[in-house]
């Protein structure tokens, strides 16, 4: 760039001075023409800027540009569809996992309820019978009670309870002490009331055969009666002791 060698030495004006003179000086026809041209430039620039901002980005694109854009869009569509497919697969897998898990959980809950009732850690209710053994003479022995319980078990008793207070489970023991009969170490007082949940007719039959519990009790001067309420409720439970030595074998 020529630093500044004024082409007309007599004027010896710098660029700044010229600019100032032009800005303050009298307008000529040339100035007006240039002004008009510049107005055109400003106008066109503003129009372009605004149309650029207003229009969506695809208007005014050439055909090959549009094809490129379209290609890009279809490629990303395909990518998105593959992604959707993949995620659907994952969702399906998770759903089936969940339902399997839910089924296993339901099964486990059911098992827990069943085993809880059998083990005596859960209360139970259902059809069954209520046996009342009166023993005015005090001659009913523990063995007679135990036999009764065994007969009931053989007849399919699922939950047995003595005197509305003592749950009789597989590990329960019947013994005799000076005061009377004990079950699991707790003293039983007559009349002995046994609530049994099971099939009522079968349970009742188990009491009355020759040589059965009813006859044994009546031999020693007691009475054994049973009734069949609509619903037998066994509310007492035993502590869940768990196992001390035994572990599940796989």
């Amino acid at each position: 760039m020529p630093e500044s060698t004024p082409p007309r030495p007599p004027a010896r004006r710098t660029g700044r001075q010229r600019l100032r003179d032009a800005a303050l000086g009298r307008p000529t026809r040339g100035h007006v023409l240039i002004g008009l041209l510049l107005a055109g430039v400003g106008f066109a620039a503003m129009v372009q800027v605004q149309s650029n901002e207003r229009d969506d980005e695809y208007a005014g694109l050439r055909q090959d540009d549009l094809i490129r854009v379209f290609d890009g869009i279809s490629a990303s569509t395909q990518r998105a569809e593959r992604e959707i497919e993949r995620l659907r697969g994952t969702l399906e897998q998770l759903r089936s996992n969940t339902s399997q898990r839910q089924a296993a959980l339901d099964q486990a809950r059911q098992d827990q309820a069943v085993y809880g009732i059998l083990a005596g850690v859960l209360g139970a209710e259902g059809p069954g019978i209520r046996i009342t053994i009166e023993d005015p003479a005090g001659e009913v022995r523990a063995s007679a009670l135990l036999d009764t319980v065994q007969e009931l078990r053989a007849a399919g008793a699922e939950a047995i309870e003595f005197n509305d207070a003592i749950r009789f489970i597989a590990q329960s023991s019947v013994g005799e002490s000076a005061q009377g009969i004990t079950v699991d170490g707790e003293l039983l007082t007559a009349p002995y009331v046994i609530d049994v949940i099971g099939e009522p007719t079968t349970l009742a039959d188990a009491l009355v055969f020759p040589g059965g519990p009813k006859e044994r009790v009546e031999e020693v001067g007691g009475t054994l009666v049973h009734e069949q309420p609509d619903l037998v409720v066994v509310e007492s439970t035993v502590e869940d002791a768990g196992t001390q030595f035994a572990n599940p074998a796989d």
Binding site: M1, P2, E3, S4, P6, P7, R8, A11, R13, T14, G15, R16, R18, L19, A22, A23, L24, G25, P27, G30, H31, V32, L33, I34, G35, L36, L37, L38, A39, G40, V41, G42, F43, A44, A45, M46, V47, Q48, V49, Q50, S51, N52, A59, G60, R62, D64, D65
Partner: protein, 110 residues
């Protein structure tokens, strides 16, 4: 003075009127604007150099705009419109930069 006023008036007019660009003009308008800017900066530089001439400016302005648009039009016809647009913008951009550098030396002496 009149030139600055004209530029201002054009900008204001464009802002106020907000006309739609006709579709056939759409690829050429940005090029034409850049070419016109090149002519304007060239004219300003010539003015500061003291060699400004009204006629030269008007002719260079018009021919700049027309040639730039014509090149892009030709490119469109040949199927290389996008590339030629870029080429024209690059060349005009370089010229604008060099002109502005000369103007800067005049105005700021730096």
């Amino acid at each position: 003075m009149i030139a600055a006023l004209g530029l201002l008036a054009g900008i204001v007019l464009g802002l106020v009127l907000q006309p739609d660009v006709p579709l056939w003009l759409e690829p050429y308008l940005p090029i034409a604007v850049v070419a016109a800017l090149d002519a304007v900066f060239g004219g300003l530089r010539a003015f500061l150099d003291g060699i400004f001439d009204d006629k030269v400016f008007v002719v260079s302005f018009t021919s700049n705009v027309v040639i730039a648009a014509a090149i892009v039009f030709l490119g469109d016809k040949l199927g290389v419109g996008g590339q030629l647009t870029t080429a024209v913008i690059v060349v005009l951009g370089i010229r604008i930069f060099s002109n502005v550098a000369a103007i800067r030396r005049h105005v700021f002496h730096a």
